[in-house]
Amino acid sequence: MHELSITQTIIDTVIEAAQGASVRRITLEIGELSAILPDSIQFCFDACIPNTPLAGAELDIKTIPGRGRCRTCGHEMPLDMPYGICDQCDSLAIDIVAGQGLVILSMETVPCA
């Protein structure tokens, strides 16, 4: 289950970036083609943050739908799997152009001083 090590990376990254400030919300962007499950990230996050500087922080997850571009004719289309068939020319050569990312978009902090 890669979500646990990925969640730990997210937590470490935010703790570093917060530089001691208390964090109350983190916004994450997860692509629907990324093979990373938002529910698992949420579960791991809730399990990992007690007794860390992020204790009590909320996690907002925005999901990004998949999009592909046909390598043959250039047509763009939505994708719900990391592969597809071009609905214009039936080509299977589809490049994924969106929906594969995992990005920490922002955090909201309350400075202690």
Binding site: S5, S22, A35, M107, A113
Partner: protein, 315 residues
């Protein structure tokens, strides 16, 4: 994995040099290390049990809090739908000095950076690095030892063995006379670029050699972690379902070739080779497929020809 230094928390990965028997930890939980943040500030931190004191806290905590810093409320599935106010909205919270920081940090960026460094190291020495991925039991280690034995007079090999716990596979590789290090990932289900970097430091594969990286048996997680390899080689055996390429599309899309192993067992199992190849090409139209059997030797020559051809393109 610490995004700043690439080491894994909690999983306790280790590296074992089969030549010396020496085992070292890849994530010493007590080791302090220093990072430079994008804004130029340097921070020292360590991994292991969460401990606020280990994180730099440069301001005075003696100030008087006239308010409660805990803005959260418990959620339960029975809660009515509600929303949490944005920081811009006038809420009681917004009177507190808090701020929204845009980070836009790619979570896998640190792994990808180390992978790029590995790739540069391999390219500079004409080392062909291959990342072998499969389910548990697909016959990856048998195929690898057969390949080493058959080609060791023509190619120079080194192996990084990934496994959650044991040294068994690495000992089978060592028996072929090939240099090998074992990375035990502990609870981790995949190899990361930093583990390969450390493995390469120990192994020192010579110029013009082939580095085989045998990943942990798992068709999901290794697809997400670039190790700096030239290609991922997916190994699927005919004792598995012929629809596996559709069930694990990320892995078969990320792989350049698929070795369809154990074809000597085709008379005894229900596995449609043509259908499997069609599924693999649906996910990845460019994937090359070599049906073979590591035990009977059938089809191995096509895989060896591909391997030799890849080595020749490096020179």
């Amino acid at each position: 994995m610490c995004v700043t230094c690439g080491c894994s928390d909690g999983a306790e990965p280790t590296l074992t040099n089969l030549a010396t028997g020496e085992t070292t930890s890849l994530a010493d939980p007590t080791a302090e290390h220093t990072h430079t943040l994008p804004n130029g500030q340097t921070l020292t931190h360590r991994h292991g049990p969460p401990d606020n004191a280990s994180h730099a806290h440069n301001h005075d905590h003696g100030h008087d809090h006239g308010h409660d810093h805990d803005h959260n409320h418990p959620h339960s599935p029975n809660d009515p739908p509600h929303s949490h106010p944005d920081s811009q909205l006038p809420t009681p919270d917004s009177r507190l000095p808090h701020s929204l920081h845009t980070l836009e940090l790619n979570v896998l960026a640190k792994n990808d950076l180390i992978a790029a460094q590995n790739r540069g190291w391999f390219e500079g020495r004409d080392v062909l690095a291959l990342n072998l991925v499969s389910s548990p039991g697909a016959g990856k280690t048998t195929l690898l030892t057969q390949t080493l034995n058959d080609l060791k007079d023509r190619l120079s090999f080194a192996v990084i063995e990934g496994d959650q716990a044991t040294l068994h596979d690495a000992e089978r590789i060592r028996a072929t006379g090939c240099g090998v290090v074992q990375v035990n990932t502990g609870t981790g289900c995949h190899l990361e670029a930093e583990m390969v970097r450390r493995g390469v430091q120990t192994l020192q594969p010579p110029a013009h050699s082939v580095l085989m990286i045998e990943n942990v048996g798992n068709l999901v997680c290794p697809a997400l972690f670039d190790l700096g390899e030239r290609a991922k080689v997916a190994i699927l055996s005919v004792t598995e379902g012929d629809d596996k390429p559709l069930k694990y599309p990320h892995m078969f899309r990320a792989s350049q070739i698929m070795l369809l192993n154990k074809i000597d067992l085709l008379p005894y199992v229900s596995f449609d080779v043509d259908r499997c190849i069609a599924y693999a090409r649906q996910v990845n139209p460019d994937i090359q497929v070599f049906p073979l059997s590591a035990t009977s030797g059938e089809g191995l020559d096509h895989w060896y020809a591909w391997l030799l051809d890849q080595v020749n393109t490096l020179k």
